[in-house]
Symmetry: C2
Subunit: 315 residues, 2 copies
């Protein structure tokens, strides 16, 4: 895959990005993915700038391969986060949940490659205008925070590919070599995989959460909190409480109150899978075991190659 | 594609099924699709048994190729509908919105091939148990009535393929050769395409509706009426009224009242695109012109073959 644009852009072996995920993707997961030939991302969304700095320092010791940091732009201490990233000489930043124009020029001047995460065509075009190096297009099936348009990966990737020519990374619903190849056929140059790495041995999330992911079937996650920021959650007690209040027409204020503080940490990091907020993608239905990052990447590449070879039968 | 299981099952040239759609797929569309090498379906959902009989008779005159009828099993005059199908010697029936066990044996005894439409793994397994000849698995992005699990095509197809071995048809988000090939890589044997044929020259829907489909972007459709039967609609005045009442916690009774009678006919058949109920898939964002059924199928097959040939570069 030496000619692949995503591999060339980041200097990696396989065009597989591990999505930055709160409470899952610290230095241990990111460096394990990078060591296995993908691009690991430290998810800064659940970290103070001080904690992020420690994770970056540990990742640099744990891998000689490229890795990056994912930064949700809505974070209140965003300036300090960016300072840490520059100071620690991180070379790749994925920005999300904000305007791609705000930070792209600044990061480029520091010699940092910038990728912006979008969920619709409008922001893909804005990202190109902002001069980003690549775009992640994330479908409705993805876990965690999600676009308001609810457009799925199958529809979103061809739509964006037909309008922009810069490197495009598909996200949402991807966990295997087959779904990676399908994404590339739809027009992507590479894939970002979240859920499968959330359940990875090196994920920093609680073992209860990882086990829960492997037990889910189709229909066991659902998009909630559309009146705040839409988020895909596992249907546990906490979700059902939100869903019943939403069905009854709950206001923004009421929903903010129910959500409270620290719900995601309680669920994903501390392991309360009943009352915590558990963010995961629909593709959890296709995830049945907890493997290491290397085992996951190797199995994806193996299936990808086998599927590609079998296609000659279709010609 | 002679070895393709869907082509063999139905005796057709290409594994492309035209979805049965209310107010769109009468005899004219179904026979045009069948004449072009796909499988046309008459959508009986908006027809009385008497009207259906006329459409079947006209389709038989308009094509010598196989065609079928789609039957939503919740329809109140279902026995009479099935009588007409048997009497007119229709050879292929797609059933949806009901239990696959209810009619499969009866139809098989009449020498009719039976396909059931599902939106989750549970009903795919039930369909196999019922002895159907194939399953259509339809993702969240599809237009019209939709599953409660909201599982997208990218997740649903591999999930079902890994559990059942009978012929599998992917639906939802598919309109092109690329998305057809992606579906086959995910594990499908063929595809069912709705939206693109709804906007087809031979579709019986109103020209206002067809024009509207070609103008839509991403985010211009949304799933509504989750408290009744979930349905994907174009966001027009009628939709916005429903959405605002749903957001305020409207009851089932209130929603039934807003929906009223004949709303879909008003929109899709009579052309009131402001106050009518307009059912279409997310993939409408990728549909920009009104073509004939033959032009659509030829362009899909051309792109499918070109994409398949280009894949050798990836090996």
């Amino acid at each position: 895959m030496k000619k692949n644009r995503i591999c060339q852009l980041f200097g990696i072996k396989y065009p597989i990005i591990q999505g930055g995920m709160i409470w899952c993707s610290g230095w241990e997961l990111a460096s394990a993915v990078s060591n296995a030939g993908g691009l690991g991302l430290i998810g800064s969304g659940s970290m103070t700038p001080e904690v992020l700095q420690l994770h970056i320092q540990k990742a640099k010791k744990a891998t000689n391969n490229p890795f990056g940091v994912n930064v949700p732009l809505i974070y209140s201490r965003i300036e300090e986060t960016m300072e840490v990233i520059v100071k620690e000489k991180v070379k790749i930043v994925f920005t999300s949940a904000g305007n791609p124009k705000t930070w792209t020029d600044y990061l480029h001047k520091q010699g940092i490659k910038v990728v912006h995460v979008v969920a619709n065509l409008k922001f893909a075009l804005k990202s190109r205008e902002a001069g980003v190096d690549a775009v992640v297009a994330e479908g409705f099936e993805a876990g965690g925070h999600n676009g308001r348009e609810e457009t799925t990966t199958m529809v979103l990737i061809p739509l964006i590919r037909d309008k922009i020519d810069i490197p495009l990374i598909a996200a949402g619903g991807i966990s295997s070599g087959r779904s990676m190849l399908a994404s590339i056929i739809l027009g992507a140059d590479g894939v970002q995989i979240g859920s499968r790495f959330a359940a990875c041995a090196e994920s920093s999330s609680h073992r209860n959460f990882k086990k829960k992911i492997t037990e889910l079937g189709d229909g066991d996650t659902q998009l909630a909190l559309r009146k705040l920021i839409p988020v895909r959650l596992i249907k546990n007690n906490f979700f059902e409480h939100i869903a019943s209040r939403e069905s009854a027409g709950a206001s923004v204020t009421e929903l903010v109150g129910i959500l409270g503080k620290g719900r995601a940490k309680k669920g994903m990091f501390e392991g309360d899978v009943v009352e915590g907020e558990l963010e995961i993608g629909q593709v959890s239905a296709n995830i049945n075991e907890i493997l290491t990052a290397k085992e996951i990447i190797d199995s994806i590449i193996k299936e990808y190659s086998e599927t590609l070879n079998r296609l000659s039968e279709l010609q």
